[in-house]
């Protein structure tokens, strides 16, 4: 901060003394902007007519505030945050996922000899939500959003996080009911989510999720229900492999983030 101006200079400035040269006026003004003490000093030196004028202005502004429209009430932070995170209507898809998992858990309770359906469906449980999260058909404002700097992998991950925040507790709950090991429930689920995003970089997330779900259903779910045996990919000890696959897929997606900058017609 500059040196405090001399009290006499401040008094002459307050009086509007024409003898004060421009350089001094500037230095006083730039100092006043930064120094509350000197502003208080200045207020003490203000002549009577200026003070009357200031009072008049204050009264006028107060009247204006009283007569004008009331300020917009400050909204809760929660509302802005929820708008940002939950812009897309995921609720029907997540409700469907929850219903399917509930049925699977119920079926397991009724018929414990069959391989656990919860375990079999866990990998594909988040895929419907992921498929609709950043998509031309389900996001009405896709054309507006696709031209903004926030569009891209970051937005897809943010919306996927919302899906996982719902699906993972559901899986944990269903797993606790049926006694399925938690690691075997969650690692394939994360691996499939990461895989649908990674594959989505190349063919669109919607197609990738549909393709992966179909392959899983045909190659694993149907045979294991037919033979009534848990498939080898879901045996204990496979969790580490699933975790490695999830990390690898996520790594690929992040490395190829440039492929997500535009919303391709595959989405």
């Amino acid at each position: 901060m500059s040196m405090h101006p001399d009290l006499a200079v401040l008094a002459r400035y307050a009086d509007g003394d024409p003898g004060l040269d421009e350089a001094s006026v500037w230095s006083v003004e730039s100092h006043l902007e930064a120094c509350a003490d000197c502003r208080a000093q200045l207020a003490g030196h203000v002549p009577e007519d200026t003070r009357a004028l200031l009072d008049l202005v204050t009264a006028g502004i107060d009247r204006g505030i009283g007569a004008g429209p009331p300020p917009v009430p400050r909204r809760r932070i929660w509302s802005a945050v929820s708008r940002r995170w939950l812009a897309v209507t995921l609720a029907p898809w997540l409700t469907m996922t929850a219903a399917v998992l509930g049925c699977a858990a119920l079926l397991h309770a009724v018929n414990p000899e069959l391989p656990s359906l919860v375990l079999l469906l866990a990998p594909v449980a988040p895929l419907p939500g992921v498929a609709v999260s950043w998509n031309r058909r389900t996001d009405p404002a896709w054309e507006l959003v696709a031209g903004t700097p926030a569009a891209g992998l970051g937005m897809l991950l943010r919306r996927t996080a919302v899906v996982l925040a719902v699906v993972i507790p559901l899986l944990t709950l269903a797993g606790a009911r049926t006694g399925a090991p938690l690691a075997l429930l969650l690692t394939p689920c994360l691996a499939f989510t990461a895989a649908s995003i990674a594959l989505g970089a190349l063919i669109g997330v919607r197609r990738a999720a549909a393709g992966l779900a179909a392959v899983w259903a045909l190659a694993v779910v149907v045979p294991s229900l037919a033979t009534a045996e848990l498939p080898v990919v879901l045996h204990p000890g496979g969790a580490a492999v699933w975790a490695v696959a999830a990390v690898a897929m996520a790594g690929f997606a992040v490395a190829r983030a440039d492929l997500f900058r535009r919303l391709t017609s595959g989405n």
């Binding site: 917009v72 708008r83 940002r84 009405p140 404002a141 507006l144 696709a146 031209g147 903004t148 900058r261």
Partner: protein, 265 residues
Amino acid sequence: MRTMSTAETAPATYAWAVHAEQLTVRAGRHLAVAGLDLRLHTGVHGLLGPNGAGKTTLMRALATVLRPAGGELTLLGEPVSGRGDLRRVRRGLGYLPQDFGFYPRFTVREFVEYMAWLKEMPKAAIPAAAQRAIERVGLTAKADARMKTLSGGMVRRAGIAQAIVNDPQVLLLDEPTVGLDPEQRLDFRELLLDIGVDSCVLVSTHLVEDVVAACTDVVLVNEGRLVFQGSPDELIAHGDQGDAGYSPAERGYSALLRRHRAGAA
């Protein structure tokens, strides 16, 4: 009024805000923009052309929504036709699509604020910028009404508000006057001229009269190619009494199109 930052008053380091060379863009399998050369600087540019001329596809490519199939496209001095980072360019863009969807349970203010947030504006500046944009399109009274309760013209104006909320250097408006009543169209023209003082505005429209009244420059495209670029007066000068149309500008428009079609055949 708002405060200008030093970054905004700094001189531009590019010659054209929008520069397209031999630009080709696909709409599905069809080549909707086929070798278009376009150079735009500050001012209001009216994009005219018959249905299917490739106006909307061109707009989408300029808004970085579609990737060009070929040619060079440079926005604000940065190439956007390849796979490069688009964030910086997109922060300076405003785009109103022809048919835009919205989240029906959002209020107008929430919608505009959400779009401002997506455009990565500083968090502290968003509420004031949204309020200002809503005031500029004359929707203040409806700022806290839900989007689904608005009429077609109001939705259009909310769309314009989200496009201008970040004070874009390149503003792309696709059919912005659809659904606006005559009085609102006049207000909208004033707004365009105001924004066009220091930004590059490209307005696509069917209404030749809108272009003559509100634009400093006319861009006429047909079948994905540039037919004519010049001032409204030059457009008028191309027409004579024998051409179809009710006004001099319309006669100029139909004369240019007729000549282009004859040349292409």
